[in-house]
Amino acid sequence: MTATQTRPRTTAGRRPPGNRPPRTFEQANRRLKWAMLAPALGFVGLMIVFPLLFTLNLGFTDAFGAVNADKSWIGLQNFQDALADSRRFWPAAQRTVVFTVGAVLIETVLGLALAMLMRKAFRGMRWVRTILIIPLLTTPVAIGILWLLILDPTNGIANHLLESVGLPPQEFLGSVSQSLPTLMLIDVWQWTPMMTLLLLAGLSTLPEEPEEAAKVDGADAWQRFRHVVLPMLWPTLMTALVLRSVDALKTFDILYATKGPGGGSDFEAETLNVYAYGLTFDYQEYGLASAVLVLFTLFIIGVVVLLRRRAGKKEA
């Protein structure tokens, strides 16, 4: 279907010249491109699209317990239940937002500062970049356990260091109130490097002339950053923000590894993802879990759309 649509459009020459696909490829066997795509599309269809529709459908049923148990259509009941649940659902939603906004904001500011610091080549650049990719490639479960050791309230090095500079020891992951902020800091440690690398890639593509011109006109370093570099970097910054936010919203491993099911005894680290996981595999509440997941997915899509719209605004 798409093949028949593409051909007349291209031969009509509506694409700007030079951007036009070469004729040799136009004349190529059209079956080829679909043959090349078919396995990947088949995989996406079977493993992603179909399961998503399945989940959407489950959200409207009372599926519970054994996977092959009978289930019946109950309309919007699960969605109403979830949205009326102020004990687990809304606090989890709030924690998801707090965790994501807090962690990603800090990562953006620190990541941008570090990218500006590393912008001009220096000796040892290669080593710093190597160090930066290690946290984000390391297994999150291992990272979680490592921080459990570092932040152990009685035996950890963190409190030892705090005491050595005269600060009171902290409970960190051992307390209800400090768990989420601590996990945000761990996320900042693991993912600020990603922000830095994305922004460094963006900075490396910027032309030098505008900055030179601003310098000649007497703009100081901050003004050049604020009015020249930042606007040019904006599209990359927003892309990085979208990528990081989507991943942060879906954070699971580190929360589950450090706090266990339900995000701890008081659900103190339970985000929507952890909640949906628990509903599914601890309570077998497949119907309600699916409804929560549909709401969660819609929320993520909303965040992406919002951020992309903002990206467009500033660019124009």
């Binding site: 080829l32 491109k33 992603i48 996977v67 220096f122 710093v128 297994t139 491993d253």
Partner: protein, 277 residues
């Protein structure tokens, strides 16, 4: 201000910049160093924060951990699942990326974004439903298929950009010399894309190596991958920090080696597509 003092100010700034970068680097590397160090400490030393990085190392933790068949088996499982899922993903994603890149099928390509947005948990429910009824839960097949959910979009994402950056003229020339379109892909584009494919595959492997959630649900005792074993190890051996850190070290060392050898390519792969907006 004379140029002389301006130069002095600039070099002092450069010096400050060096210190700042070094301090930040330490923040990112020290926890990993702490992990490695703890793996070589006795359990008395590991829970005594006054024992820093200077101590006589013991291999006891590694000896214990490697004597435990379960841990070796889970590392092997991680290798199998990571290797097979990465190979299969590359096999289906690289040709697809070429088609999207060369035929400019960006709407099809944007399916990749859907896969990045969807929370994996929302697929676990239907997968579990379906695989449980097919009696596949606990098999390598399920683990491999589920890990491909991450690898296929990841490789597509990186390789679409990579193929688009290759000059199309080479493939055109090959076609005027009589190669078919597939021949142009197979003999020209694919060899040129080897570095990109290697980077994308390495990142896909790492994502599988690190994956926790899928194996937590779909693996049984014999197919369990390393992150799940590490996680289970906390609950029944919460005081054996040395052992935990030894397992964590065994899982992290390959990543560190990859980072040391392929820093340039990994950074390119991780940031692929970010500058296009």
């Amino acid at each position: 201000m004379s140029t002389h003092t301006a130069g002095a100010v600039r070099s002092r700034l450069g010096w400050l910049r060096g210190i700042a970068v070094a301090a930040v680097s330490l923040i990112f590397v020290l926890p990993i160093v702490w992990m490695f160090a703890a793996a070589f400490k006795t359990n008395v030393q590991v829970t005594d924060p006054s024992v820093g990085l200077l101590f006589s190392p013991t291999f006891e933790n590694f000896r214990n951990v490697l004597a435990d068949g379960e841990i070796l088996r889970s590392l092997r499982n991680s290798l199998i699942v990571g290797g097979v899922s990465t190979a299969l993903s590359a096999l289906i994603a690289v040709p697809a990326a070429w088609a999207v890149g060369r035929f400019r099928m960006h709407r099809t390509g944007s399916l990749v974004l859907v896969a990045r947005i969807v929370p994996a948990v929302s697929l676990l429910v239907p997968w579990y439903y379906l695989f449980a009824q097919a009696g596949l839960v606990g098999s390598y097949t399920v683990l491999i298929l589920s890990h491909m959910f991450v690898s296929v979009p990841l490789i597509l994402w990186i390789m679409i950009g990579f193929f688009e950056s290759l000059p199309v003229e080479l493939e055109e020339a090959a076609r005027t010399d009589g190669l078919t379109a597939f021949g142009a892909f197979w003999r020209i584009a694919l060899p040129l894309a080897a570095p990109g494919t290697a980077t994308a595959s390495l990142l896909a492997f790492v994502s599988s190596w690190n994956n926790f959630m899928f194996a937590l649900i779909f693996a049984d005792e014999t197919t369990q991958t390393a992150p799940v074993t590490l996680f289970n190890f906390i609950s029944y051996a919460s005081t054996d920090w040395g052992g935990l850190m030894a397992v964590a070290t065994l899982m992290t060392v390959p990543v560190v080696i990859a980072a040391l050898l392929g820093q340039k390519y990994l950074v390119a792969g991780l940031t692929a597509g970010a500058t296009k907006g």
